[in-house]
Subunit: 193 residues, 2 copies
DNA sequence: TTCGCAAGTCAATAGCTGTTGATTTAAATT
DNA sequence: AATTTAAATCAACAGCTATTGACTTGCGAA
């Protein structure tokens, strides 16, 4: 019987995972440029050198963080164009403990580090391939790309405003459900011209 | 007669202005963290030390750049809630040489550097005081704050998508005027629930 | 002309960053 | 038990950053 109370040591896959998890949390709160490898290593209780060793470098680590989180993708879940507005509105509601909340985290990580030459390039590819592509396809019809951009713009704008600019009164309606309903209406408007 | 072809030297207000202009252009293209004082000094053809001398430091320089650009403010121009959608749609059109284009630059500068502890704090204050405040007041009515946030979110989202994520097909409709009309419709939707 | 003060220059500082090499330690294999 | 192999540690590196102080230059006033 292997004890599960003792701390596992000399386990490369465990430390790799610990680094990845710590990096995720750090990149969620700070930008690529403002996260140091020493911060991540400290959180993961791991030597700094191991990061470059296991991941090849900061850039590769970031790539792994975002591409791990990319799937299950935000826009792979909704099945039809009709359920899109309600899905996106629910996505923004961000009830604590909600399953969807962790889907939103990839968004925040992307927004935080989008300005930063190295991280930006990675993020841009991800947005085009894994987000805008599927979303455009799902919407379809006339000007599907434009409408996909509109939806994504709203989502990103709310993310920037709420998480980065720290504007908290976006949910400041008495009834949070009402707020969600209004945003659902906005998404519907974007889809129907 | 003072020659205007000779380069003015030993002119403190001119070099201050040169630094400010160079800083504006740099912060427009790169984030606070990725712009070095040496870059700015190089563009302004000025010694690096003069920046800290004249502005007190990088942070103060950035504050001066954004607060100079803040007025004339984006949202001080439209007079009534009714003309807001058309105004915002025109703001996004970004026709080269347009007067409104330079109004949009403040937005880009803010979005670029929003994630960055020092610049972020400055920007957050600006958003609350100079943008969300006036806009909420202009909109008025029920849930004016929520609607102001919606409009700002759309504006920021489009800015992020277009300028930072470099998604260029936001204007890829055959007729750019048609694209503008659609966004105007989206803004109207945000105002009317 | 001379003096003084402001403008501009130069060099050096301390503090950070990611990355790498050599070294030690622990686990698994023979 | 001895040996090999991988994991973790440690220390140091070179490159960058903003900022500061001392120094030199030049213009304007006396």
């Amino acid at each position: 019987m292997e004890s599960n109370t003792t701390i596992k040591k000399r386990d490369s896959v465990a430390t790799r995972a610990a680094i990845l998890a710590a990096a995720h949390q750090r990149f969620l709160r700070e930008s690529y440029d403002n996260v140091g490898l020493r911060d991540i290593a400290g959180d993961a209780r791991v030597d700094v050198a191991l990061i470059s060793r296991y991941f090849g470098g900061k850039e590769s680590l970031f790539r792994e963080v975002v591409s791990n989180d990319a799937r299950p993708n935000v826009f792979r879940e909704p099945q039809s164009r009709a359920e899109l507005p309600a899905y996106l509105a629910r996505l923004m509601a961000e009830d604590e403990g909600d399953d969807l909340q962790e889907r939103m985290e990839m968004f925040i990580i992307m927004l935080r580090s989008a300005s930063s030459p190295k991280a930006g390039e990675i993020i841009r590819d991800l947005v085009h391939l894994d987000i805008l592509g599927p979303l455009t396809e799902l919407i379809g019809g006339d000007h599907g790309a434009l409408r996909a951009n509109m939806l994504l713009a709203i989502l990103m704008g709310v993310g920037v405003l709420r998480t980065i600019m720290m504007v908290d009164d976006i949910n400041d309606v008495a009834n949070p459900d009402e707020c969600m309903a209004r945003f659902q209406g906005l998404f519907e408007a974007a889809l129907s011209c």
